[in-house]
């Protein structure tokens, strides 16, 4: 028999007496929780379920028979036979005394009126609530000298006069989010909450996650501008619309406005959020929202080099009725189809929309346009990872959820900057590292996560294959491969071993810039770990050798058998909130829903039957290929839903020129994006909080988003718009609600067949594969076999393919593009959200301080960055994490579009462009970037609704 481990022992039941009643507790459950389960509420302030109990406020004291002093029930654990009393006069007297003393320090001016002490900053003060409950009246004690307010942060008001020094914020910031900004400093009566070196919050290293606000029981840390005092009309449970982590949240809605957002206990976030998910929602009410369909004015030319200020759309468009706009939109598409054939049309769907929208959109293209020319931005992010995964393990999704890092022994994060791009996922990685999990961070840039790592490999840009093959070489050579796993569950090992033979760490060290002993040490660590996870991001995928990079990672996991167990597997961190779901739903040119190949006769027949239409068997064109075809005149009409290729695609000058050549372009979006400028018809769509639908996060969790707001003006639900277009191009569609679409999807997607809408309404989140109703869902896959024909995974060797454009004398620097924490994708949403726009208003380029010095430039100065394709000017930011000889530019700034510079060279398998590497020249000076009517801090900070 196995011996019980300490966790199992701690979870053993314990019988003890609670207020005279015999109850069953657990050795690892504090008394306060057992009491809660038995309907006994004990006052508590510094304790918050889920957080490490700190036991500092003593509001929760109880009497334990035979003990001289009272015990704090939040950090006292029961023992067999213990007799606990929570409601004796002595216990309650002490509880009330704590509340009275703390209340005495509360400001006078609370909502209870003058003379009553209460928090003036929130209506949900735990102190006030307990004081009311226990009948603590006006305190008998004088107040302390009250500290001054700190209103320096755009999203968070710091009013320490309401602080009770419970340190919940400290634990939230340091132990949960691991941002390490807040501390409890000074001594005795001077002790107080500080940010960094006692800096104003707005000048500290705070990343605005708002976790401290959510944790604070008194409103000492509260949403800025009094939002904490607004009484919500409704609270609506939903999902965050930004990244692939898929945090569940609750909107507080008042007068059709989101006044506050709270993290909800979802499987991916457990109540945590980041700055975007917490404070990035006022974009929905920005004055640039499209509220009426627009039609291009006759004679307004389309050119690739244009600027239309979204505030002055009238120069190019006129308003139209929905009837007219839809007729025009559909007629243009129909005419091209009928005159030039199905392949003259293409559609870009969106990874920001719902699963139902993605499904209908691809169905519209496949059955209505008649070709497979449908794609979306997955092409720009993980297409290469998916290509490699499909080839190796026949499944494009992750094998384990992010939170499995907590069960791993070793975690390798490569080509990913999760504190910025997947902030809440990063918190789990940081938590794991603090618990002793060995964290290896491999990235050409030294990012925030490096601080938590045991090994930091700052390898040379675009040398991933050299580094990873060297690791595999070391593993094979040192006999660390998992022979049984390789034998039983993989194929192609001999070829792989042969191929990595020439990649000894010693030979490759100079190439990738990592010393051979380090490569070997890390390889050993990974190979011999009890459980090991690999997480990767766009630093791996966005290369011409992106598929090769991913092949190496897959091989690394397979050779060592590090896959298919809890805490052990592969996780490409998906970027957009629904890039997983949109891909699953078939928003890709070579796959029907659930990755059934369009050129597979069986799949083709299945969908012809299912949809009742003849389908094209030839895979369609991908994003960049579609734009190339447009330029050549082969594609003449497009329908773009919620994507902005005119800013997100590589070499935007080319992309814009291509879009400008189209005979007919229909764009459906919230704002007049760079792509919409070139449209013939612009259809005003709904924002995420304005509609119902499901999205699928990076962990394969299908999650339900709920409508919280009415859309502005005549903006309409995307699903309705797709339906209307479909009907006008000859499809007899009548989908009344996303539920109907989801039900249809279940009929052709085995992976989600078991998920019902009702279950989503009840549970909010179900992890697929979930093939039969009632199945729990499957967080960890590949446990016994791979979904390939043979059940084995395929090892695919990769060789070095150099970056497509290497630095040279003329363009000596490497440009790396990516994202910033505050801004999402092309910035259409976040640059119109007051807090986010205030935090990161201007386009910046990160460069190493020594490079800056070499150009004689100061941080904050304007620099010009030019490539063979374009030139932009923006502000320099000193960043020691950027390697020398490289410059990092986020691609969200229209006034300094990084993608004016990038190279559209494609990975041959994933067809993903090389966003992470091209050659540029940097010079000091240039005309400051030209700003339109958004960005640059122009978005108004959300004002409080009337309290």
């Amino acid at each position: 028999m196995d011996r019980a481990n300490p966790q199992q022992l701690a979870a053993l039941p314990v019988e003890f007496k609670l207020n005279g009643r015999t109850v069953a507790g657990r050795a690892d459950e504090p008394i306060i929780e057992t009491a809660r389960r038995h309907g006994i509420a004990i006052p508590h302030l510094c304790y918050k379920p889920g957080m490490r109990p700190d036991g500092n406020c003593r509001a929760c004291v109880v009497e334990i028979k035979g003990e001289r002093v009272l015990a704090p029930s939040c950090c006292r654990y029961p023992q067999d036979g213990m007799e606990v009393t929570t409601d004796s006069a002595r216990a309650v007297g002490a509880q009330k005394m704590v509340l009275e003393l703390l209340l005495a320090d509360m400001p006078e001016a609370g909502p209870e009126g003058p003379g009553q002490r209460a928090s003036p900053y929130t209506r949900e003060s735990k102190l006030d609530a307990w004081a009311r409950k226990l009948g603590v009246g006006r305190p008998r004690f004088p107040a302390r000298a009250q500290p001054r307010a700190d209103l320096s942060h755009p999203a968070i008001a710091v009013n320490l006069d309401a602080c009770i020094q419970c340190t919940r914020c400290v634990r939230a910031c340091r132990e949960e989010q691991a941002n390490d900004v807040i501390g409890y400093a000074f001594r005795g009566e001077h002790a107080k909450i500080v940010f960094d070196l006692d800096d104003p919050m707005g000048e500290s290293s705070c990343v605005g996650c708002g976790e401290c606000v959510q944790a604070c029981p008194t409103g000492a840390l509260a949403p800025a501008r009094g939002a904490g005092l607004v009484v919500a009309d409704r609270k609506v449970d939903s999902v965050c619309p930004y990244c692939g982590v898929g945090c569940l949240l609750t909107y507080h809605v008042k007068d059709n406005r989101i006044v506050q957002v709270q993290g909800r206990d979802g499987p991916a976030n457990h109540g945590r959020l980041c700055v975007k998910g917490r404070y990035g929602f006022d974009y929905v009410a920005h004055r640039h929202r499209l509220t009426k369909p627009l039609v291009r004015r006759p004679g307004v030319p389309k050119t690739g080099s244009f600027v239309v200020d979204p505030g002055h759309w009238q120069v190019a468009f006129r308003e139209a009725s929905w009837e007219e706009a839809l007729d025009l939109a559909a007629r243009g598409l129909r005419e091209i189809r009928d005159r030039h054939g199905a392949k003259a049309l293409a559609g870009f769907g969106s990874a920001k929309g719902t699963n139902e929208e993605a499904y209908l959109f691809q169905k519209l293209v496949r059955t209505g346009f008649g070709s497979n020319n449908v794609d979306h931005c997955t092409r720009l992010c993980h297409a290469s990872s998916v290509a490699a995964l499909m080839e190796g393990v026949s499944s494009g999704a992750v094998s384990n959820p992010v939170r499995d890092v907590l069960e791993a022994e070793v975690v390798l994060v490569i080509g990913s900057n999760p504190t910025v791009n997947h902030p809440v996922a990063a918190t789990w990685i940081k938590n794991a590292a603090r618990r002793g999990v060995k964290l290896i961070v491999a990235d050409p840039r030294r990012t925030e996560l490096a601080r938590h790592a045991t090994h930091v490999l700052q390898f040379n840009p675009a040398t991933d294959v050299a580094l990873l093959n060297a690791m595999i070489h070391a593993i094979v050579e040192e006999g660390l491969a998992d022979a049984a796993f390789v034998r039983n569950r993989t194929s192609g090992y001999d070829a792989l071993r042969e191929s990595v033979r020439k990649y000894s760490p010693e030979a490759r060290a100079p190439v990738c810039g990592i010393p051979a002993p380090t490569i070997r040490a890390v390889a050993r660590l990974y190979a011999t770990a009890r459980a090991a996870m690999i997480l990767w991001g766009m630093g791996v995928s966005q290369h011409v050798h992106g598929t090769d990079n991913a092949r190496c990672l897959i091989a690394l996991a397979l050779v060592t058998g590090q896959i298919g167990r809890p805490g052990t597997g592969l996780h490409p961190l998906r970027g957009q909130n629904n890039v997983q779901g949109a891909s699953d739903a078939g928003l890709i040119p070579m796959f029907y829903p659930d990755y059934q190949r369009v050129d597979n006769p069986e799949a083709n027949a299945r969908f012809e039957r299912f949809w009742g239409r003849a389908l094209d068997r030839q895979p369609g064109l991908t994003v960049v290929e579609i734009l190339n075809a447009a330029q050549k005149g082969a594609i003449r009409g497009m329908y773009v839903m919620g994507e902005n290729p005119a800013l997100s695609d590589p070499d935007v000058a080319h992309a814009r020129a291509a879009l400008a050549t189209l005979d007919h372009l229909v764009v459906q979006d919230l704002f007049l994006t760079e792509t919409a400028y070139l449209a013939d018809v612009v259809l005003p769509a709904t924002a995420w909080p304005e509609k119902d639908g499901t999205v699928t996060n990076t962990d394969r969790m299908v999650q339900l988003g709920r409508k919280a707001l009415e859309p502005p003006g005549e903006a309409r639900a995307d699903l309705w718009i797709i339906n209307e277009i479909a009907r006008r191009i000859g499809l007899d569609w009548r989908y009344a609600h996303p539920r109907a679409v989801f039900d249809e999807m279940r009929g052709c997607m085995d992976s989600i067949a078991g998920i019902t809408w009702e279950r989503l309404e009840r549970d909010s989140s179900v992890t697929y594969p979930c093939e039969n109703e009632g199945d729990a869902g499957t967080p960890v896959i590949f446990t016994t076999r791979f979904p390939t024909a043979t059940g084995r995974a395929r090892l695919v060797p990769a060789d070095i393919v150099p970056a497509a454009e290497r630095p040279d004398r003329e363009y000596p620097f490497v440009l790396i593009t990516g994202r910033q924490l505050e801004h999402w994708h092309t910035g259409a949403m976040t640059r119109r959200a007051g807090v986010l726009d205030a935090l990161e208003p201007e386009p910046v380029a990160s460069v190493h301080p020594l490079d800056l010095a070499a150009w004689d430039a100061q941080p904050g100065e304007v620099i010009t960055v030019a490539s063979r394709r374009g030139s932009i000017t923006l502000y320099a930011r000193a960043d020691e994490g950027t390697p020398r000889g490289a410059v990092f530019i986020p691609f969200c700034y229209y006034e300094a579009a990084a993608n004016a510079l990038t190279n559209p060279a494609l990975d041959p398998f994933g067809k993903i462009p090389e966003f992470k590497y091209c050659a540029v020249r940097v010079t000091r000076g240039g005309a400051p970037p030209r700003r339109l009517s958004f960005g640059g801090g122009q978005a108004p900070l959300p004002a409080p609704a009337d309290a």
């Binding site: 340091r174 390490d180 900004v181 807040i182 409890y184 400093a185 001594r187 960094d196 070196l197 006692d198």
Partner: protein, 158 residues
């Protein structure tokens, strides 16, 4: 920010702890930094944090807690009087009053000539010698009767 010698001294202290526990040396590092620079500026604390690979706020917590760290400039002699209970019962309160009178400054103030700063301290673990005072974080003055204090001040004035 710090001289090579100071860094060397800090490294010596760090060698006492496991390599991945550099933050264990924070108290020693702050003391060495303060010895060299006079007092701990935010920049200096940020430097120490960076050097030890720990969050700045964690350095702030330590530096603002202990009386031997000065976050603002102090005079040539920093007189830190223990006012905790045992010392208070044995005359620390009078000692503080006496020093205030003699130096013409209040607590946390420095004489205009920059010679003396007066501060309150917490128990120095020398209650047997109460009341006590720590001078410049290093020298302990015991049994502080007004006369003993006068003698001591006279000595410093030399």
């Amino acid at each position: 920010m710090l001289s090579a010698e100071a860094l060397q001294r800090i490294d010596r202290e760090l060698a006492k702890y496991p390599a991945e526990r550099r933050e264990s040396g924070v108290m020693a590092a702050l003391a060495i930094a303060q010895d060299e620079k006079g007092h701990l500026t935010p920049e200096l604390m940020a430097f120490v944090a960076e050097y030890l690979g720990m969050p700045a706020v964690a350095v702030e917590e330590v530096a603002s807690f202990y009386t031997m760290y000065d976050l603002a400039p102090v005079g040539r002699y920093k007189l830190c009087v223990c006012t905790n209970l045992p010392c208070a019962l044995r005359g620390a309160t009078e000692a503080v009053a006496h020093l205030q009178r003699r130096l013409g400054i209040g607590l946390n103030e420095t004489t205009p000539d920059g010679r003396f700063t007066l501060k309150e301290g917490e128990c120095f673990g020398a209650c047997g010698d109460a009341p006590v005072m720590l001078v410049n974080n290093k020298k302990m003055v015991s049994f502080m009767t007004p006369e003993a204090l006068d003698r001591y001040l006279a000595e410093l004035a030399k």
